[in-house]
Assembly symmetry: C2
Homo-oligomer: 340 residues x 2
Amino acid sequence: MTHTDLQDYSHKRLNILTGEWVLVSPHRAKRPWQGQNEAVSNTVRPAYDDSCYLCAGNTRINGEVNPKYQDVFVFTNDFAALQKDSKSFSVEDGLLVAESETGICKVICFSPDHSKSLADMAPKDIQKVVFAWQKEFKELSENPNINYVQIFENKGAVMGCSNPHPHGQIWSQSTLPNEVDKKNTRQLDYYNKNKNSLLGDYLAQELEKQERIIFENDSFVVLIPFWAVWPFEAMIVPKKRQSTILELNDAEALNYAEAISVLTKAYDKLFNTSFPYSSGIHQAPTNGNENKHWHWHMSFYPPLLRSATVKKFMVGYEMFGSPQRDITAEIAADMIRKQL
Amino acid sequence: MTHTDLQDYSHKRLNILTGEWVLVSPHRAKRPWQGQNEAVSNTVRPAYDDSCYLCAGNTRINGEVNPKYQDVFVFTNDFAALQKDSKSFSVEDGLLVAESETGICKVICFSPDHSKSLADMAPKDIQKVVFAWQKEFKELSENPNINYVQIFENKGAVMGCSNPHPHGQIWSQSTLPNEVDKKNTRQLDYYNKNKNSLLGDYLAQELEKQERIIFENDSFVVLIPFWAVWPFEAMIVPKKRQSTILELNDAEALNYAEAISVLTKAYDKLFNTSFPYSSGIHQAPTNGNENKHWHWHMSFYPPLLRSATVKKFMVGYEMFGSPQRDITAEIAADMIRKQL
Ligand SMILES: O=P(O)(O)O[C@H]1O[C@H](CO)[C@@H](O)[C@H](O)[C@H]1O
Ligand SMILES: O=P(O)(O)O[C@H]1O[C@H](CO)[C@@H](O)[C@H](O)[C@H]1O
């Protein structure tokens, strides 16, 4: 049952995973919009584009030729943000503090078909992407210099994606990035106090309430978290506590693929457009520990707010204060459920 | 003297004010760009636009008529994200945690001239904006329900600004937003340990090194912080420790206005465009305490990276991991200094 105050009055909600707050202004959704409209391209892309550096058989900027891959293809990023073998150093010069950071960045093509996105792929084919994530994660986690692996996707030009070919990225590195560090600490605190998974206990509560649930199958729940920041932010959470995606068996991997498929298809229907987002999987560090406090999950941060062309801007107040949203998580869940 | 490692190898730098890290990839600046280009409008706007709801004498959406103001004009936001007198409540239902948040949101027009931005205004006129910020800050800080006042500006359509008329906003509220809370804690810890201002000590170090300094006058320093996230992020810091802008005397207010003028003019010259940004002033909470640990400062977060049309996208890795930048703070400072 909804707290009706939460639908009527400005308030803040706590993100239990990061300890940060989001400001919610439910009364503000009716504000008129005279600002920037995003370009929207609903033109169908060809299945093969000879100028695309990710299509099978094409040559990349560094001269390497992509194999004639049939499903998923992974390669090391030609312009990696993290260098593998660069010098190790540390600067502590008064209040100037820096540390070298090394890592490995990879690109993963989800399909040879240039025209597709995850939303257009069958769960069986998305399962192949999950298998590739597992394989890469495993290999990287065995590297003693790698302590964290961030799998993510930027979809759509508005999310900084420079190539529409269906693909994601994997950045792995020696230390924990900010967001992961926060979630690591909060989950550990909770586990130490309650001998239980924070996200597992949260999930039980949400499954009872149902109001923010979008979809579930035997192994996964898709929901709008209570503390969602982006208008249609959603989360895919395994029902069983698992530290990383390596614990998924094949049936669970297919259920995970189904959850991704259901959510991305609903997104596309919502504003009748190929729905842009950044998605990412947060999982346990690859530091060799058991990390029993970790409950891995995948989040989707889509920018659109009112239509295919009007996005939410996380700017002034959001950058200097806290993130702010207009429609509530409950309304967003309703709107997405209607697309199923 | 620059640590040359910082110009050559991937590393992370610590933001001493928030405790978070930024990933720096200096080797990556040469990455080709095939992604989204921003629309750029360099058309000169008229000094008065009869369809603008911020121009003097025009009628706003709620029917109110703007006065025929001569310099600065402040009014309460017609679509405020925070409600002033809304109900007070608190939700603690297992892992669902929320609290009502009230506040007052205002809009501040910097000039009646629709065609101008801060970069086009004389320091004497910007000083009037500073005086208005002081007046509003004082009034809000005397309100017992207001414990923090966030002054900010979103400039440019790419920063979600829905009206090009030169204006900023002031959102004030009962609790500390996330970013302010972090800076409050870190400054307090430092002050307790060192009996000195964190930012004051940092400033002394930067003034000695000079490599990230853009400009200084008697009362202010403009610099690129060592831990800058946005490509051309900059900070204006008072040389004397002051908790809030209320401590500025008239001469200092003019020096502050000059610092804003110098920085925004240099920005506009950099890519020969009206440079978009979000700016914000972080200052002490208005909780009635002395807040001697606070050293107020103004930051500018501009999105442009390579030209008037190519911006930095803070997406996938940045949202799920840590912010990431390509050009170093030192290179950015050099590029801006050349515009002076
Ligand atoms: O208040 P405005 O200018 O209509 O709106 C703009 O600034 C606000 C505060 O940063 C943001 O919440 C909005 O997303 C943005 O479009
Ligand atoms: O790596 P890409 O796709 O060229 O680049 C995109 O994703 C990166 C990781 O989120 C970001 O740092 C870039 O700003 C963005 O344009």
